[in-house]
Amino acid sequence: MSSNQHPKIIHKKDLTFWQKLYIPEILRGLRLTLAQIFRPKFTRQYPEERWKPPASFRGRPVLVEENGVERCVACGLCARVCPALAIEVQGSETELWKERYPVKFEINMLRCIFCGFCEEVCPEEAIVMSDEYELTFTSQEEGIFGKDKLLMPAVKLKDRLEFLRQHR
């Protein structure tokens, strides 16, 4: 486009006589707002009505528990990949066929950014993002989740595991 071209002049449409009177237009506006009153509401009454996230939702990360034992083999990949350095794993040996298990597995939920890298990197599908989004604590110490809070039976995570298998 050359710069010496004149910009197109846009003429504003003049208001009609009735529009200039304001009052009919105000009445039209009133009809609209009054009609809105009887439309269905968008508000969700939160503590009573809870949102069930879809399987693709990344909630707080949890450890998958199968037959009473976590799948985790304490390889430490999640701790390595975690960009927020929120995960701490200490492994040890066990009699079970998986041979290694985490003695200590802590996620600092004050640092976690819900990126899902730990889930992506896990070779055992042992750490996944759950559908839980209600995280409240009253002290910093409470924000560090140990194994007791992280373990979740695989039955509860069926949707997410299914989703991961289909889309990964």
Binding site: Q36, K41, T43
Partner: protein, 341 residues
């Protein structure tokens, strides 16, 4: 009590004040719920049944907040301004007749706090006093946004006071009296001034919106431009007083609109029902409240319907449209009265 008249007046003042303050609290709730409904939300419904204790919680919150006065503010005037606002908002109601007469305990009581023979002048004088609260608060805060809000408010009041006064004069000419009581009686039957003075009604309602700083004309506190306008530097109970006075002003304006244009406490078919006197006067009060309620709903819904005027548009409307319109209306009314008498 040696003077029963005074005693009765005192009781009336207390009763009206209590009812008014309660009503104001619930207008706030009504406005919030209605605003929510218009925006497809639900609104405050947690405190008490359907949010009925919300006003109480709001007041409690405001009382518990710290009262902050800016360092460079004029302390005395900063304190004085909300008091002016609220006292003007509440005292204006004194001359509004909310019913005819009622006989209680053998006393014939007039349902109006003060029957002033220049009632309309009283109203006009007090409403123009109300602007001092806003302007002084804007000046005393020593904040540019507050000052701009205060200045806008005074300019707006001057422009709309004239149109307001002139649109009332048409009503006064028809009734032949400045007394609000007489004006109501002159509108007996269906002779409501809204039908006799439609242009006066429209201009008065528009001016009332401007006087109460309600939305199409809420330039003194236009939040996108002026933070919160004149009450930017107010907090706690003093902010609460401004808030209260805004809604009290709204209630009073609605009552005045009802009195001047919608026949006050009269409903045409009520007198024909042959009710006993006591019940008739109660129904009159009920009719008055009903009409005020309808006008209030109109005020609230308009707030969520029309966007704010630009400042030049506001001035144009006031001086170039409203003023000539009211004067033309005045002349026309005068001619019609001359022709028919």
């Amino acid at each position: 009590m040696r003077n029963p008249e005074m005693f009765i007046s005192l009781i009336k003042i207390v009763v009206v004040l209590v009812i008014m303050l309660t009503a104001v609290a619930y207008i706030v709730l009504l406005e919030r719920r209605l605003a929510a409904a218009i925006q497809n939300r639900i609104g405050p419904n947690r405190v008490g049944w359907q949010g009925f204790l919300q006003p109480l919680a709001d007041v409690l919150k405001l009382v518990l907040k710290e009262d902050i006065v800016p360092k460079s503010a004029n302390k005395f005037i900063h304190d004085l301004a909300p008091v002016i606002s609220i006292s003007v908002a509440l005292t204006t109601f004194a001359v509004v007749p909310f019913g005819d007469h009622i006989t209680l305990f053998g006393q014939n009581i007039k349902l109006q706090i003060a029957s002033v023979n220049v009632g309309i002048l009283y109203i006009l004088a007090l409403t123009s006093l109300g602007v001092y609260g806003v302007t002084l608060s804007g000046w005393a805060s020593n904040n540019k946004y507050s000052l701009l809000g205060g200045l806008r408010s005074s300019a707006q009041m001057i422009s709309y006071e004239l149109a307001m006064g002139l649109s009332i004069i048409g009503v006064v000419m028809l009734a032949g009296s400045l007394e609000l009581d007489k004006i109501v009686q002159a509108q007996a039957g269906w002779k409501w001034n809204i039908f006799l003075q439609p242009i006066g009604f429209i201009t008065f309602v528009v001016a009332a919106f401007a006087e109460t700083n309600r939305l199409p004309f809420d330039l003194p506190e236009a939040e996108p431009e002026l933070v919160a306008g004149y009450h930017t530097e107010y907090s706690g109970l003093k902010f609460g007083l401004f808030y209260l006075s805004e809604y009290a002003n709204m209630l009073t304006s609605c009552a005045i609109i009802t009195t001047l244009f919608l026949g006050g406490w009269q409903l045409p078919f009520l007198d024909g029902l042959g009710l006993p006197d006591f019940w008739l006067s109660l129904f009159h009060v009920g009719a008055f409240c009903l009409k005020v309620g309808v006008v209030l709903l109109f005020f609230i819904v308009i707030r969520w319907t029309i966007p704010r005027f630009r400042y030049d548009q506001l001035m144009n409307l006031g001086w170039k449209v409203m003023l000539p319109l009211t004067i033309a209306n005045l002349l026309a009314t005068g001619f019609v009265i001359l022709l028919f008498e």
